[in-house]
């Protein structure tokens, strides 16, 4: 008997509008609201709503035997509230089935774990509180932005009370180990690590509609055949992917929804497969070994490192400028400023500045609203510069008021 563990990532960044330097000092609305709304409503219609309905139908049909998990960023939840409240309702419905786990992460899909333990902890707590409020669940499993993982990050995560954490299971990270077992974190062995089976996950997420793939077309029965193959080692198959896989990256006409509609039944009828949430899986199995990565790894690109976000001078400069004002933002603790500080954290802004794909930009262009990394950097820095000017003005105001009243 093997256990299938589904986790779907739900995230939409708050995209910045075209912000020229001459907007500075005059215009403090940084977001591209029409685009954010259009994308959210489009993805809601193509993916979130139909896929949530499909999952709900399958959970009900199989009477609790079909289970999945989600990690939903704070920025996505905010945009559900504003642009597509019906999506939030459908997630609540899923939560009410008891077969859906909501994972913890940073509120803003940020890179804080790489630089600032306090900031990271605060953002994770804010996200956990949001999950509690929206879905009535306190997350016990953690997934970091882009599955970024290192031993020290895992230790921080364990210290916050999480029982399990997700990570990438690519070959060059795991070596001879299989991703199909539960592992224990190196620095705090009470924390269980679940590793993404990248081959079987990407068969659905990337290759499903690829007609040049020798396995195309992929049917639920064929896929279940792979999951039950006698030579597949381990207890557990972790299928981790972006939720937008369903209906967005793989459009409805590829048959992705039909595939997912038949997969639970096809799996359960073999009597060799069952479904579990990450928390259940982490509890069900003893760790096979220690999982250790002294340097940060992620689920991105061939390298599985963090150079997609912090790799070139532009990204490093923008990131360090942002973190340079952290103390000021927290001292001021003004809701308007906190709001901007939050969405500026989002890893997507840094991803748009990446230059590593000048030669093979396909996947990356798809997600990128900018024509070039330079445009992305210029726009981000203009917004950040205005934010910093306003922050200083506000601080001066506050100080003046305090002095006057004293």
């Amino acid at each position: 008997m093997k256990t299938i563990c589904f986790y779907f990532q739900v995230h939409q960044p708050l995209r910045l509008k075209r912000y020229r330097f001459f907007n500075m000092g005059k215009d403090h609305h940084y977001l591209d609201e029409p685009t954010n709304r259009a994308i959210m409503q489009q993805v809601a219609a193509d993916c979130y709503l139909p896929m949530n309905a499909l999952l709900l139908e399958q959970i009900r049909k199989h009477g609790g035997k079909f289970k999945v998990s989600f990690s939903i960023t704070g920025l996505a939840i905010e945009q559900f509230r504003t642009y597509a409240p019906e999506v939030l309702d459908s997630f609540r419905e899923l939560a009410a089935t008891g077969c859906v786990e909501f994972l913890g992460e940073t509120y803003d899909h940020s890179l804080a774990s790489l630089v600032d333990r306090d900031e990271f902890t605060a953002q994770v707590k804010a996200h956990s509180a949001l999950m509690q409020k929206e879905f009535g669940q306190k997350p016990t499993t953690f997934r970091n932005t882009e599955l970024i993982y290192s031993d020290t990050i895992a230790e921080t995560v364990a210290s916050m009370g999480f029982k399990a954490m997700l990570a990438e299971g690519a070959k060059h990270i795991l070596g001879w180990k299989s991703p199909n077992y539960v592992y224990a974190a190196a620095l705090d062995q009470k924390l269980r690590i679940l590793l993404r089976n990248f081959k079987l996950s990407d068969d659905i997420a990337f290759r499903f509609s690829d007609r040049s793939w020798s396995e195309w077309p992929l049917t639920a029965d064929k896929y279940v055949g792979w999951l039950t193959a006698p030579d597949l080692p381990g207890d557990l198959i972790n299928l981790f992917m972006d939720y937008e896989t369903f209906g967005e990256h793989q459009k409805a006409d590829t048959g992705i929804f039909d595939f997912m509609r038949y997969l639970p039944a096809a799996a359960l009828k073999t009597k060799k497969l069952k479904f579990a949430t990450p928390a259940e899986a982490a509890k069900a199995f003893q760790p096979a070994a220690i999982f250790s990565s002294p340097y940060p790894i992620s689920w991105a690109d061939e390298e599985r490192d963090v150079t997609a976000w912090l790799g070139n001078e532009l990204q490093n400069e923008a990131f360090s400028t942002l973190y340079g004002v952290r103390d000021k933002v927290h001292e001021l603790d003004d809701p308007d400023f906190n709001y901007v500080w939050n969405f500026m954290q989002c890893s997507d802004h840094f991803y748009y500045m990446a230059t590593k794909w000048f030669s093979d930009g396909d996947v990356h262009k798809y997600f990128n609203p900018y024509g070039s990394p330079y445009e992305a950097f210029i726009n981000y820095m203009n917004v950040l510069s205005d934010f910093m000017i306003e922050l200083d003005k506000k601080k001066a105001d506050v100080t003046a008021t305090v002095c006057a009243s004293a």
Partner: protein
């Protein structure tokens, strides 16, 4: 493989990018083992009655302080045809300049091409006649050289009749090279006779080489040339020039430079408008416009009207060393061309470690990842890019260092190898 090549300028006496490209290409071809006979118009004036002279490479003044290596020298021959064909001006301008020159004999103007070509009355009555006369001489050259070349290569419309004539007398295949189209030079108000010559050249040619995909598109769409015979070979940049010596800067301000002919094609007016926007927000920047052209007066008036003349400077036409010094002084180089078939000058700027902003409507944008690219008409985006390069040092640093690496990899040797492949496909 031996090629008979018709050009119309060659360093060090050049007025624009074509001479530089001819130089890089012929050297590259010679390194590939291709023998090049380069025919170029040269006005000798009245003192000598010969129409054609054969000049060995060793007698040609070497530009940029290069030396002709022996193996390259052996493969290069120059033929000068006595002609006053003038590059970069329209037939109408040719007429005006000629009349103007005649009215003020003896007076030389600053532009290098005017120094080079003496308007003595010995030549054709207008540019078109001169082009035709050049073609007749070219036919004679081709006849004399019979058996000494396998393919004919003609650069830009001035030499297309020469190319066609050479093909007719020799029966050898013809390659024409589009460095610019009449649409790039004149926008939609094209000179019909120039267009006709371009089209005749490309129709008669066995292959058309376009300097960018942008140009290739124009050749196919606006001249109706079958796509199958149009090949893109991007230009490259010379890489062995010694870096410009450190130039002492007189001012601590950041300097943003436009360097090129001040004509419609180069988009100088967009540079001015962007400058005005930047100057409203940044006090420590100066703008320099280097070059001359028919829009200069208009641009000066606009600068005055915008009230930015104290921070916007004109240098006039710069040559050789001065260009290098200008690059060395620059913090940002801008090429806002409305239509630029390729555009060599941003590559020269990048070689001098200057971050560049280029218009998306330039062929060179196709080969550069590390240049900042904007639409030429998007003055806001241009202003924003200038502001960012001045204000965010990380951007300027990365653009300069990565740009230098990128530009160093654009070799004439590689471009010449592609051109040699084009020859091979038709002989």
């Amino acid at each position: 493989m031996r090629v008979l090549m018709f050009g119309w300028e060659f360093p060090p006496h050049i007025a624009g990018g074509l001479g530089t490209a001819s130089y890089g290409l012929t050297r590259g071809l010679a390194k590939q083992g291709v023998e090049v006979i380069f025919v170029v118009p040269k006005a000798y004036g009245d003192e000598d009655q010969r129409f054609v002279r054969v000049v060995n490479a060793s007698d040609v003044e070497t530009p940029y302080g290069d030396r002709w290596q022996d193996d390259i020298r052996e493969r290069l021959t120059f033929i000068h045809i006595d002609s006053n064909m003038v590059p970069y001006i329209s037939p109408e301008e040719f007429e005006t300049e000629r009349v103007e020159y005649r009215s003020r004999p003896g007076e030389m103007k600053g532009d290098i091409w005017k120094e080079r070509y003496a308007f003595s009355g010995k030549y054709g009555a207008n540019l078109m006649e001169e082009v035709a006369r050049y073609a007749m001489v070219a036919a004679e050259v081709a006849r004399k050289l019979e058996g000494q070349f396998d393919v004919i290569h003609a650069h830009d419309w001035l030499t297309y009749y020469a190319g066609i004539a050479a093909k007719q007398v020799s029966g050898k295949p013809l390659v024409v090279h589009m460095h610019a189209t009449e649409f790039d030079r004149s926008g939609e108000h094209i000179n019909q006779s120039v267009y006709n010559i371009e089209r005749a050249g490309m129709t008669a040619a066995d292959r058309v080489i376009a300097v960018s995909n942008l140009t290739r598109r124009i050749v196919i769409d606006k001249y109706g040339i079958p796509p199958g015979k149009v090949v893109t070979v991007h230009n490259a940049v010379r890489f062995d020039r010694p870096a410009a010596a450190d130039t002492e800067r007189g001012v601590s301000d950041k300097i943003v430079t436009f360097l090129g002919r001040i004509t419609y094609q180069k988009g100088p007016d967009y540079f001015v408008e962007a400058a005005a926007k930047v100057l409203k927000r940044l006090p420590n920047v100066r703008f320099v416009m280097a070059g001359s052209g028919d829009m200069l007066n208009q641009v000066i008036r606009r600068v005055a009207k915008l009230g930015i003349a104290d921070r916007f400077h004109f240098t006039g036409f710069l040559k050789g060393e001065e260009v290098q010094r200008m690059f060395a002084l620059s913090d940002v180089y801008v090429m806002p061309s409305v239509s630029e078939p390729f555009g060599i000058s941003p590559l020269e700027a990048m070689k001098s470690n200057v971050p560049v902003i280029i218009s998306k409507q330039s062929g060179v944008a196709e080969v550069l990842d590390y240049a900042v690219k904007v639409d030429y008409w998007d003055v806001d985006a241009l202003a924003d890019a200038i502001y960012a390069l001045v204000k965010y040092p990380a951007l300027a640093r990365m653009s300069a260092t990565k740009g230098l690496v990128e530009v160093t990899n654009l070799r004439w040797d590689d471009a010449a190898a592609e051109v040699a492949d084009v020859y091979r496909s038709i002989i």
